[in-house]
Symmetry: C2
Subunit: 236 residues, 2 copies
DNA sequence: ATTACTATAGCTCGAGTAG
DNA sequence: TCTACTCGAGCTATAGTAA
């Protein structure tokens, strides 16, 4: 999109992308200048003009077939689109967010210990995160609205997904994980699909027993950072 | 990109994407109109103008900080970019390619039978493809250049990957599979990483003995179709 | 219904320049 | 240096129309 490395201008690229949507990438597609114009928000005439320009640039081939037009992308046109997509994907996946949160520690209902300590969760966390979490969660109440809002933002981003499961008639919820740091400890923030807390509570796990290691007690204020993988919204 | 659902025009979107690359997505970034112009292939003046327009449209916020400018995207601007990216991703991943090939059957060197019949390959194919292939390949020589070129195109796309292995000092090559149809039979085209044939030969496997079932003999012309998963180049 | 030409209107960009 | 104004040039879309 951006004309680094002699890439085509936005106008050209948006037209090529629309042609991809119309199925002209690998085989000829019936593309009328009218339909292309409608999709692009242009008049039929302007769309026709663009197609002629694209052909002139060697990015597509146009074949008149009766009253209609068959369009297919040339290898070069396909290459342009693919490299645009590749660069964009890379840009989106390289974009990392570091969000800072602050709140106060409070005691949960002991559920954290029970759940995180469950052998199956332990197995799944170890596989997903690369470490075996201490059986328990550190609950942090976010008092300021801006942190609560940040938490909402974070939730919509792509994190590490851990699927739920059933054992002995009991249901264990799926959750999404985001890595971060609290002091010098690596922590993981959990978004548990079915949680007992409201959206102003952050539930953290870590390899170590954080309360002990950092000398934390209820009401203490802690600050932690969370890194989100990308700009890409979470799937599903 | 395409203005379906009142999305911004290409010019706006390309500018927003460049701002994402500059790190203005989640926090303020120092963006000079000069540097933005350079990245977009515009002059400083035009870039400045665009930033002002984007602010007017409520997509970014501009804050003068000394001689420089701090830019960050608003939730709405971020939403536009993310929905553009989402639509694009979907379009690319939904785009399926159906390529038609035609060529003539010829006898191989018996290697196909040996390899595909190998118990470990049989196991791996069954897992990867969902059926147990008949031990042997149907070799099709593609005479026309356009088919050879199509085959090259196909190779660069994402297929089902089967890893190689070693057994008894012998090396068995990794390969990439693409599903398709020959007459009413489901077939799978193999791109064997280390093959004995040149790039004008398609090697097909199937659950059935195709030569027998379809009454094929050397020199017979066959037509088959291959479906590729997406426009996205194969990773790795 | 198509495509696509010509001519005009309108918009975007770039040069010059000020703050 | 930086931003961002005005104004004119050039480009692009549109309207009208032909095939």
């Amino acid at each position: 999109m951006s004309p680094r490395r002699g890439a085509p201008d936005p106008k050209t690229m948006s037209t090529l992308l629309e042609l991809v949507r119309m199925g002209a990438a690998y085989s000829s597609a019936d593309v009328s200048s009218g339909s292309l114009g409608r999709a692009l928000g242009l008049t039929q005439q302007a769309a026709s003009h663009r197609l002629i320009e694209l052909e002139g640039a060697g990015l597509i081939s146009r074949i008149h077939s009766g009253r209609s037009l068959k369009v297919r992308m040339t290898p070069r046109g396909l290459g342009e689109v693919r490299s645009f997509y590749g660069e964009l994907t890379e840009a989106f996946e390289k974009t990392r967010v570091r969000l800072v949160f602050s709140g106060s520690v409070f005691s949960g209902m002991g559920k954290g210990k029970y759940y995180v300590g469950h052998p199956e969760y332990q197995r799944r966390f170890t596989e997903a995160l690369g470490y075996r979490p201490y059986p328990g969660t550190l609950n942090v109440k976010l008092e300021e609205d801006r942190y609560v809002e940040q938490l909402r933002t974070l939730r919509s981003l792509g994190g590490i997904r851990v699927e739920g499961f059933k054992r002995g008639g009991e249901e264990f919820s799926a959750l999404t994980c985001f890595d971060g740091r609290l002091s010098d400890e690596r922590v993981t923030l959990l978004f548990i699909d079915i949680t007992h807390y409201n959206e102003s509570v952050a539930e953290l796990i870590s390899a170590a027993y954080l309360r002990g290691k950092l000398g934390l007690k209820d009401g203490d204020r802690v600050t932690f950072t969370i890194d989100a993988a990308s700009l890409v919204p979470a799937k599903g």
